[in-house]
């Protein structure tokens, strides 16, 4: 039976002092076990939406429930079951990869030998075990992205939010990250993911939602979206067709 893990109902968000809404009466249900990509041009509202889903931002109106829990009443419980991989390298540069992960793992309540094992296992899986005791500020971009990912999954989250997880990384690192995410998904983790890499999204996601100006303008499986648009051969064609090719600069 298909069930929703995240239920977004009539969510709107207007920042203080802003003239327009960043998110406008958005409705979306995210299904347990799926990999859903939130795609859209710059300023579409992807990061705002994912920030609200992580509890970083409070919606102006509407409700979000995660596994039937609301942030208002069950903030700590929700944080225990979600994992977040932010776009920035949210790591302490002067600490080693091991020290960073031991710290963030402990913040999820993992301790002792179990924590140590989980950290070392993940470093091994993502090809960083040799660099475990090196400072993060000596790492390449791809290595930092991998440590960034590990920090969000140490506690084996039910739902994982990723904001541009492969931006600025080399092909090899990207493959390792995507493969690991697929592995997590196979083990039951629902993944909510934003990206500008449409080819990657097409291969990786089971479903995508395309946002523009705070609204979902289309959603479905990548193949169904491609089929729906005449002369579209890939998700990029769909994207351009729906959002246009004009630049979306804003401040």
């Amino acid at each position: 039976m298909i069930s929703s893990v995240i239920h977004i109902q009539e969510i709107s968000k207007k920042y203080k002092g802003a003239d327009e809404y960043s998110i406008q009466r958005l409705n979306l249900s995210i299904i347990d076990g799926e990999i859903i990509g939130l795609l859209g041009p710059n300023g579409a509202g992807k990061t705002t939406l994912i920030s609200m889903l992580c509890g970083l931002l409070k919606p102006t109106s509407g409700t979000i429930t995660i596994k039937n829990l609301s942030f208002k009443k069950n903030r700590k419980k929700i944080k225990q079951i979600i994992g977040v991989v932010p776009q920035e390298y949210a790591l302490y540069p002067t600490l080693t990869a091991y020290e960073n992960l031991m710290y963030f793992g402990s913040m999820y309540g993992i301790s002792g030998k179990r924590l140590k094992q989980v950290v070392l296992d993940n470093l091994e899986l993502l090809g960083l075990i040799k660099f475990a005791h090196k400072r993060v500020d000596t790492f390449s971009g791809g290595m930092k992205r991998r440590v960034n990912l590990i920090a969000g999954i140490l506690h084996n989250p039910k739902i994982l939010f990723l904001d541009e997880p492969t931006v600025g990384v080399d092909v090899q690192s990207k493959k390792v990250i995507i493969d690991h995410l697929k592995e997590l998904n196979n083990n039951g983790t629902t993944i909510v993911y934003t990206s500008h890499h449409l080819t990657e999204a097409q291969e990786f996601c089971t479903r995508v939602a395309i946002l523009d100006r705070g609204l979902i303008i289309s959603k479905g499986t990548p193949l169904s979206l491609i089929d729906d648009i005449e002369d579209a051969h890939n998700l990029e064609d769909v994207f351009i067709s729906l959002t246009g090719s004009a630049l979306r600069d804003h401040a």
């Binding site: 992580c54 409070k58 700590k76 419980k77 944080k79 949210a90 790591l91 963030f104």
Partner: protein, 428 residues
């Protein structure tokens, strides 16, 4: 508890990875305390042979001007200068020299001051004697003798304390001379002549001063520059923790780790708790190092050793609560500041202002009334009073309770505001 300890461990690792920052945190306060105590201790010390050159213009050439000059010379504070470029000084020359800042002070003795003083004294004595019927009232008793004025030219940049000290010193000298003149005049009136004449008046000081420091019990510690400076500058150094701590928090915000922590099931209070434990440890280590310098190193530098007596635990408690107040302030500053450019300059300036109004440089009782009132809200004033209660007034834990109570309250309020502000920001 595990999350709190891991947070503290993380903060400790971050500090240890910045050796330069650590060196500054521990070495600079020691350098500060040694430098300031050396300067303040040696400012008027004979041993260092530091004399202030002052210009002396003697338009009188009499006994009085000679006495003033000799007394100034004997005070060992001043070096008397009567010529410039081998030319005898005049009022004009000295005025210009002082205005240019070449000299701090010039003393101008007016013409005929000796003669006029003698005439004035003789006139006063004569008036008294004629009132008593011992002498006839003469016309000279009614003669008007103009007042005399000794001019003191001060460099405009001179400190008020220095000016007051000099003026009081010269005033006392003049008063002594006047008294002696009066005694001499009476002696002359009543004596019958002869070399072996016994003096009619005992000219030795009838009233003297004795410095006593109130004490309870047998312990008696005389205050000195070390006892004054070590607590004051220790407190100043403790409060400088505001800067690295506020930078630490701004850094967490800018490098994204705070974003991650906000999505973790850990409260802001726990995250802050880790910082409080670590930075408080730093403050206490600073305090212990400065005490050690005062006790063990100062004697080798020619300074008085710091006397702690049996009050170490009370001092430690005062340092603990002062550290908490400083940390609370640093956390508040870091929480409110948005950029690196905001936190350190504001923190440094705020600490200097709190030190100034707290009485670290100038004693509170010497400040204008409104500043004295303002000093009541400076946590550095509370900390300094508590330290002085122990170091100088030999107080115990009961005596410092009000001050440590205020310091703890300050800590609670600043932390509460920080947590509240963070909660409000999360609701953006």
């Amino acid at each position: 508890m595990h999350k709190l300890l891991m947070s503290a461990y993380k903060e400790m690792l971050l500090l240890l990875r910045d050796l330069g920052g650590l060196a500054i945190l521990f070495v600079m306060p020691l350098v500060l305390i040694i430098t300031v105590t050396l300067i303040q201790d040696s400012s008027f010390k004979i041993v260092n042979n530091v004399k202030i050159p002052i210009l002396f213009v003697d338009n009188d050439k009499g006994d009085l001007s000679k006495t003033i000059r000799d007394n100034l010379q004997e005070s060992t504070l001043f070096e008397i200068v009567t010529q410039k470029n081998k030319i005898d000084l005049t009022e004009d020359i000295t005025k210009k020299a002082v205005l240019k800042g070449e000299y701090q002070l010039a003393v101008i003795i007016p013409k005929n001051i000796t003669i006029d003083l003698q005439r004035k004294v003789a006139q006063n004595v004569s008036n008294i004697l004629s009132e008593l019927g011992v002498e006839e009232d003469t016309i000279s008793n009614k003669e008007s003798i103009p007042d005399k004025e000794i001019k003191l030219y001060f460099d405009p940049a001179s400190q008020k304390a220095f000016k007051n000290a000099v003026m009081n010193s010269i005033d006392k000298m003049i008063a002594n001379i006047e008294s002696k003149s009066i005694y001499s005049a009476f002696q002359e009136e009543f004596s019958e002549g002869g070399e072996e004449e016994k003096p009619l008046f005992d000219e030795s000081s009838f009233i003297t001063f004795k410095e006593i420091n109130p004490k309870e019990g047998k312990e008696h510690i005389f205050p000195n520059s070390t006892q004054h400076n070590v607590p004051a500058w220790t407190l100043f150094a403790i409060f400088f923790i505001v800067i690295p701590l506020s930078i630490n928090i701004v850094k967490e915000k800018s490098q994204g780790t705070f974003v991650r922590l906000r999505t973790n099931p850990v409260s802001y209070a726990t995250v802050l708790g880790g910082k409080i434990i670590t930075y408080l440890s730093v403050c206490l280590i600073q305090f212990l190092l400065m005490l050690a310098v005062g006790v063990y190193l100062f004697p080798y530098l020619g300074l008085a050793a710091l006397e702690i007596g049996s009050s170490f635990m009370v001092l430690f408690i005062v340092a603990l609560f002062s550290g908490l107040a400083a940390i609370g302030f640093g956390i508040l500053l870091g929480t409110l500041a948005k950029t690196y450019e905001q936190a350190p300059p504001f923190g440094a300036t705020a600490v200097v202002i709190l030190a100034a109004i707290g009485g670290v440089w100038v004693p509170v009782f010497m400040m204008p009334k409104f500043m004295q009132t303002l000093s009541n809200i400076s946590p550095m004033s509370w900390g300094l009073n508590a330290f002085y209660d122990v170091f100088l007034r030999h107080g115990g834990i009961v005596e410092v309770l009000p001050e440590i109570g205020l310091l703890f309250l300050f800590f609670i309020i600043t932390i509460a505001i920080s947590i509240f502000y963070d909660e409000r920001k999360r609701a953006v």
